[in-house]
Point group: C2
Chain length 690, copies 2
């Protein structure tokens, strides 16, 4: 202990690259939109040698998707950048439904809460996709040397089916080409002008470097071999077409305009309403609240955004259903979209001088029939599902696709989990894509012209639809079915199973007190997305001597070799370069914080490292903190955990519940892990250096 | 309205530089520590052409100050980066006092709450000074082209007293020299090794560019002329010495070591305590809680830090008081400091392998007798006051010095406020520096060896001292006296003056709902530090027709020329390049949120700009939001504002209360502004271009 190393600790992990031979690249992500970047996050976090290519010259800066649902923000918290999102984003608490009243004048038909109190630390939020990409890119940068390669297109894709059976083989061959600035600058779409005309003054400072990438690429062609390939290349996915995976569904016959503007409107300017009628009318929407407005000639959706921007979704034209994938974009302009808004919200006014972004689209409700080829090539995000943007769900689904797929590919590539785990991607995410399209079909219909008699019921229909799909839309329920990573039928008897924990679902976030320093933290932040499975030991009230003994027995079982050959924490291959064990343990007890000590818990629950100290972040307490109204000591109660008995829960790397049991059920828990994790080879099998 | 400008809005303000002749520089800040950077923030924010020089080669990265008091975090919130601080920092809720018990063994003597619930959104927090500098530097960067010039020393300073009388003159001449890398690398202190040995791996990613500044400077000499100079050059201030300003006070006779380590200790490992005694002993401190530990051979202070670091303040030696400013540093090593800790906390253990930073110091309790020369040259931070670091107050006082001085110098330089306002810097901050030293004298004594008989009363003394100085220490009270920016005696009669608003003090932060979108926000964030004075119109319950009429009358008075020559909002010089008026108006009413409309308020309270839209951020509501437990509609009650009558308050650019009155008192309020702000010249006096 007399050797003092000054500053030996690394604040930022730089992965050590495995130098593969030549151009062989172990994994490949195509497309650096929301789903691609989420997958890339996991490669960075787990130290995987991957390449991420994108055909765009820069990241997105303005416009595009904006809706963020509570579950997505919970995931961002586990990734470490939720605070940046909330600092910039626009939040909403209510949604207003407007329609023609008795005299045909627009009136509020309903005011719906957009979310329920205390279901999540986060609410419905909007922030430009470009900013979300910024935060994920920064996180990738912090955790690795991975960088998105821009202006790169794919030219050929070959997949050798037989090689796919050998986990060590590289069955995928892709030809990549970096486009020259000349090729990039051929005008192909009016939309592109928004990006090419942007200057530093239009962007936040942390996006400036990305702007500088423009024109910096040199033409180059290369062939790479990969173990895995993830195609996150959007609605017209090149990867999907190469795999000849068809899509089901069709385009609708409605063309919509979207416009992000600084809106100048007296919509809901109630000056004209006599003061004594204020109580009747004053809760109506305005352009800083989410509003669905059905005028006499159509329905628009009003979405307040960050930086004072408001987005309008506006029906501009109908075309013959199913006749073509394309329509004549050139006739639709911001001026035309503006006129349509003016028509619909009349007699209120609508003007703008500043337009941040606009586009026009035809809703295609389509779903890819498959999402993988041999569990080596995967599709995610818009490459799998396209639908209307009006639910604010698209970016969330894509982010969550990438999040679900990313950890599985990263840990399979790392040799940490069994490759068959990759089958759960289709199992878990494809049904949600179907549910998304179903929801969209219902939802979009509510925006279409209705017969006069139906008008009164629109608000009711919307309210009913919102309620029906709420848990799905917010991401609070994902309905992940049984698999090797979701154990639905515990093998134990009448255990003290928490009433409100469901395998395959998230755990409801609460604020807990850290036992060592007393500070409250949301579970979404303390359960970091770092690639590890987590055992949550819900230890109950550890002041009780019987319970204390059970905890002691539990930790002995963890360390015991007798049950299953080797102790649980030393049984499985780690995440190379990151963690020796793919399993982390968190203890959450419910004794009063002041009556228990950090050191009361067995050392395996709070391990010591000479370079990082005791693991003070491992012991948590469900007790109230007078300094924090959200830390109220109700987690056990709301989770339905018995305070006397406690329980044992396994959380997957993406924070969904994988397994539940009694504190005694270490053998059953080990069977769960045996089904997912790769066991370490016996010591004799490890090749020794001669 | 038919001209649509695509993306005309700038997200980031780049100031337009006034090109002054040659080397004449309008303002100068020396020293880019906490107080210098805070002052520089205001230069950046108000578009002032300044230079910031620092003799260090890079910013600070590790060690140094760490304590952040609640008020400092409130200011950070108004500056826009509080979320970054809280994301990284370590917070505390309690402080533990330890001393020898009956058998001479260490026992807990007291457990004190470190702060009260609901007095601030923020608590006692620690984060390395280097990270705070990072956030302020980023904010300066976002708001301007100002950059800190490193490796620059000052060689001569001349001040021409007579020129100081002419506000337009440049009375200050300074010779600057940029040091070459060779000069910088001459070893002058063992402490410097920490900085020079740092690599990318030791730092967070956003500090990497700063590390790259090392060795990049070229020797250069220049002479600059300045209107103002702010000396934030530390305890041994060169500026102070040039001005021949003496300091009062002396060094104490105690030498302390400070060490930031990953501590491995079983301090408070209660395993040895029988379970049935747990309730008696288990609330004791450990090294993740702030603790004052008095062992048999001295008293140490234990401060948990970010990233698992713990800081220890350790008495290592005594020397003869007043005999010299210096002592032999070379004999004190991390190993020696460790031994002292081990002695004091015995029989508990203390070890470490990783040391992040350490230093040794002799407490000097000194205060400069003056803080300005001619209100043109100013001292701030450690240049004015030095004291022990044990209260976690030093960085706070320095930041708040710079914050107080910065807006005054910036707005005087901008021609927005009257130069005599600069006198209030000494008036407001010097008494606080004295109070700081007084507190420190009392506080430090509690850490010194005490006679055996006194031991039992130490905890009591500490508790009493904490309580006595709490409001001062947390920054909740600053006692700013009457001046041209603090009106203590309103000229009106028995007005509905809020019981809990005190001129010269902060307003207690609450969460309010934005009238337009319903989202809650802390007042600390919505009242931005952007250089403007703010009228808070506490409008009361505006559903009442009499009250509604009073608001109408108020806004008419704002726009009226009759009272004082020109309408209030058009009466004063703006902040050039930033704001046309130096006055901003916020309305906070207390009607139920759903029963009032944004557009119910007169347009002057929610002005329209074609490029940014209606000012939706100007109307706020003191009503509860079901989604936010902190937004509970109690601000009026806690502020002591009459819900029927409302009130009128002026908040200075630094968010201290400047003036209070009735909603009718627009003339009195105008007199307040006339005493601070520079009136616009009559139109005929504005020179016309020929």
């Amino acid at each position: 202990m007399e050797t003092i190393v000054l500053r030996a600790r690394s604040m930022c992990k730089i992965p050590r690259w495995v130098d593969l031979h030549g151009l062989i690249i172990s994994r490949l992500v195509i497309g650096a939109g929301p789903s691609g970047l989420m997958a890339a996050y996991w490669m960075a976090r787990c130290g995987i040698n991957a390449r991420i290519i994108d055909k765009r010259e820069t990241k997105i800066f303005v416009g595009h998707a904006d809706g963020l649902r509570p579950r997505t923000l919970e995931l961002f918290d586990s990734m470490g950048f939720q605070h940046r999102v909330l600092h910039e984003a626009s939040e909403s608490t209510e949604v207003n439904l407007w329609g023609p009243g008795d005299q045909g004048k627009l009136v509020r038909q309903a005011l719906l809460d957009m979310t329920q109190a205390d279901h999540s630390p986060y609410h419905n939020t909007r922030l430009s996709q470009g900013r979300i990409e910024r935060f994920i890119l920064d996180s990738i940068h912090e955790n690795s040397d991975l960088r998105v390669e821009r202006s790169v297109v794919t030219e050929t894709l070959e997949y050798e089916e037989k090689l796919g059976l050998d986990p060590e083989a590289y069955p995928i061959t892709v030809k990549l080409r970096t486009l020259s600035p000349e090729e990039l600058n051929t005008p192909n779409s009016d939309k592109q002008n928004f990006e090419t005309e942007l200057t530093h003054e239009d962007l936040l400072q942390d996006d400036w470097d990305d702007l500088g990438q423009r024109g910096s690429h040199k033409e180059k062609v290369e062939t790479v071999k990969a173990k895995y390939l993830i195609g996150c290349d959007g609605a017209h996915s090149w990867t999907r077409k190469q795999l000849e995976i068809p899509t089901e569904g069709s385009n609708t016959d409605h063309i919509w305009g979207v416009i992000d503007v600084i809106a100048i409107s007296n919509f809901r300017k109630s000056k004209t309403i006599p003061h004594d009628q204020l109580r009747l009318t004053s809760t109506l929407a305005d352009i800083r609240r989410v509003s669905v407005v059905t005028g006499t000639t159509g329905t628009i959706l009003v979405i307040p955004r960050e930086r004072g921007i408001t987005r309008f979704y506006v029906p501009v034209q109908t075309c013959e259903a199913g006749t073509s994938d394309r329509f004549d974009r050139s006739i639709i302009t911001p001026k035309m979209i503006k006129s349509r808004v003016q028509e619909i919200i009349a007699p209120y006014t609508f003007e703008f001088e500043v337009c941040d972004w606009w586009t026009v689209y035809q809703i295609g409700q389509r779903i890819a029939t498959q999402v993988t080829r041999g569990d080596r090539i995967f599709l995610a995000g818009d490459a799998v599902h396209t639908h209307s943007p009006k639910m604010g769900l698209g970016m969330n689904m894509s982010l969550q696709d990438g999040f679900n797929l990313g950890w599985k590919v990263a840990l399979a590539a790392a040799g940490t989990i069994k490759p068959e785990t990759l089958k759960t991607y289709e199992l878990e995410r494809h049904p949600l894509a179907k549910m998304l399209i179903e929801f969209d079909r219902h939802w979009v219909n509510l925006f279409l012209d209705v017969e006069p008699g139906e008008k009164d019921t629109k608000a009711e229909s919307m309210a009913a639809m919102s309620a029906k799909f709420e848990n799905f839309a917010h991401g609070w329920n994902v309905y992940y079915p049984a698999s090797n990573i979701v154990s639905k039928s515990p093998e134990h008897g009448d255990a003290a199973i928490p009433q409100n924990f469901v395998p395959g679902e998230r755990i409801h976030p609460f604020k807990l007190r850290n036992q060592a320093d007393g500070c409250p933290q949301w579970t979404t932040r303390l359960l970091k997305s770092d690639g590890r499975f987590r055992i949550l030991l819900l230890a109950g009230d550890v002041r009780d001597s019987i319970q204390k003994q059970r905890i002691e027995t539990f930790t002995q079982a963890l360390g015991s070799r007798s049950a299953s050959g080797s102790p649980l924490l030393d049984r499985y291959t780690g995440i190379p370069g990151r963690f020796e064990s793919p399993i982390d343990i968190f203890t959450i007890h419910c004794s009063p914080w002041k009556e228990v000590e950090f050191f009361d818990f067995p050392e395996v629950l709070r391990p010591l490292s000479m370079s990082t100290g005791y693991a003070y972040d491992k012991i948590w307490c469900d007790d109230a903190c007078i300094f924090d109204r959200y830390c109220d000591g109700t987690a056990y109660e709301k989770w339905g955990v018995d305070r006397a008995l406690g329980t044992l829960v396994v959380i997957r790397p993406d924070q969904y519940i994988g397994w539940m049991g009694n504190i005694e059920d270490v053998e059953e828990m080990t069977r769960y892990f045996d089904g997912v994790l790769v066991r370490k080879p016996p010591v004799s099998e490890i090749p020794t250096v001669i």
